[in-house]
Symmetry: C3
Subunit: 209 residues, 3 copies
């Protein structure tokens, strides 16, 4: 039924990583199992849902995508069961999360292209797809969204989106452009976390922060 | 104009209870009258609105349902005027709220069925209809949603939804299945509150909570 | 391409003021540049976006309105660059914000009329258009929405909307009715802020507030 190709596999891994990230944060806040489930879903599908609500591509796709729902449920219950933090799992999750970030951005950009939006809007839709699940999760958990405060996250999506458009102009094949966009986002994200990079602050007094 | 039957009456009572619950919480937070009004509306219609935005059944129905708007306004102003807590009114409200929970769940499930979604998605849509008004209210009031933290609330909706599907398979008449679903949710909710039941916690150290 | 008439100019000034207000609040909370950008956009287009999502007028208009996006980007970067508060700029911004409030209300009311909604709903849609950008901004910044707590803001929109309908019944020309509605909202807002008026509180103990 579901076509299992390379992108589908990345989609599943990314969704899984996003679901686990949502469930983990919810458990840190001591939510009950229902709260954990909702945060897990919101993180995994929130970005794509907001994108589809904005462009009117309704009903939103996860309502008819049972594979994705199964993946999210699996991620949620795995998080609840294996609570002990395992550094090796954490590293794998970070990789999946970065892959998901790259893939979700590209999916959003392509959806923007299909609907005939401009480059800037398509890149914005890609960034919304990749980042707003986390924003919705943080709003539900009553905290200022993490991506508004730290690390290079959304900026990796924007950079990858710009690369996507530059490569499109070079008349390269779609698959190569997609792969380059995803790889660039993953690379920027990994480099940013590895070297603890963040956007230059424009607040003068570091003490204030 | 408006067909007044049994379900309409429960709908009105449920909406009234939800509106009053929203207004009461907003008043506890000392919002001004406009804030109280918005919280009242968000609690009463937020769940159905989110459901209709997800499935693309737009414009959302309350925009053309003046009866519901009148009911919400009545609930809001009644809450502002009769602020003193009366235990008898509180008990009536809890009953209406439980009835609303049951009815809204069933309405959401049936809408899911009409749109041809799977059982799991239809039950999710029912739960969203019944519970997300409260989630939106809590987000607006800047607190972690109550239903993520305490009591059996969403789980009653899910249990009622599962019962609905099991009974549908038994070839019972629609009215009986609907009544059973609503009654089950109301009963679970009343039992949970009466005996102060909540979902089993999976956090080891009770002190941490 | 874009028709530059009087209403377009007010729209641009209002959007600019809303974008600057969003960016300023985000900077007070020490968000990074991406967070500032999102708050700026949310404040400027959030109300119209929610309105269009409710009535199903999708895709939302800013996805194809590059002028508005440019205006918001300009407002955001101007806020970041000129951080020092200048009382003359603050006064100009307050005027733009009031103009935006009036214009956005009227735009929302007219959209409601075009879709055949009742007067009450059209006024509500106008108020949502003008006020919910700020609500979404405050939710993202993790604070109880300002307009739920202080000053005459949404009530100015509602009053202007009622005036709009009263004047429509007098068979005046559309342009005059629109101008009167905008002017009334701007005037109420300026008077409220100048004389520090707010809605009468219905909480007895002022100390509690």
């Amino acid at each position: 039924m579901v076509k299992i190709d390379f992108l589908t596999i990345i989609d599943i891994l990314g969704t899984l990583a996003f679901a686990i990230s949502g469930a983990s944060l919810a458990m840190q806040k001591k939510l009950d199992i229902f709260g954990v489930l909702i945060c897990s879903f919101a993180t995994a599908i929130g970005g794509g849902t907001l994108r589809d609500m904005l462009i009117g591509d309704l009903p939103v796709k996860w309502l008819t995508n049972e594979l994705i729902i199964l993946v999210i449920l699996t991620g949620t219950f795995a998080t609840v069961i294996f609570r002990k933090k395992n550094p090796r799992i954490a590293k794998a999750l970070f990789l999946f999360d970065s892959l998901g970030l790259g893939l979700f951005t590209m999916v959003g950009i392509q959806k923007g292209l299909e609907h005939g939006f401009s480059a800037g809007i398509a890149i914005s839709l890609g960034t919304i797809t990749a980042c707003f699940g986390g924003v919705i999760r943080d709003v539900l958990l009553n905290q200022v969204p993490l991506i508004f405060r730290k690390e290079i996250y959304a900026s990796a999506c924007i950079a990858g989106g710009i690369l996507y458009y530059l490569l499109l102009k070079l008349d390269l094949s779609g698959a190569i452009v997609q792969a380059a966009c995803i790889l660039a986002i993953v690379a920027i994200r990994i480099i940013a976390v590895t070297f603890d990079l963040s956007l230059p602050s424009f607040y003068k007094d570091k003490q204030d922060e």
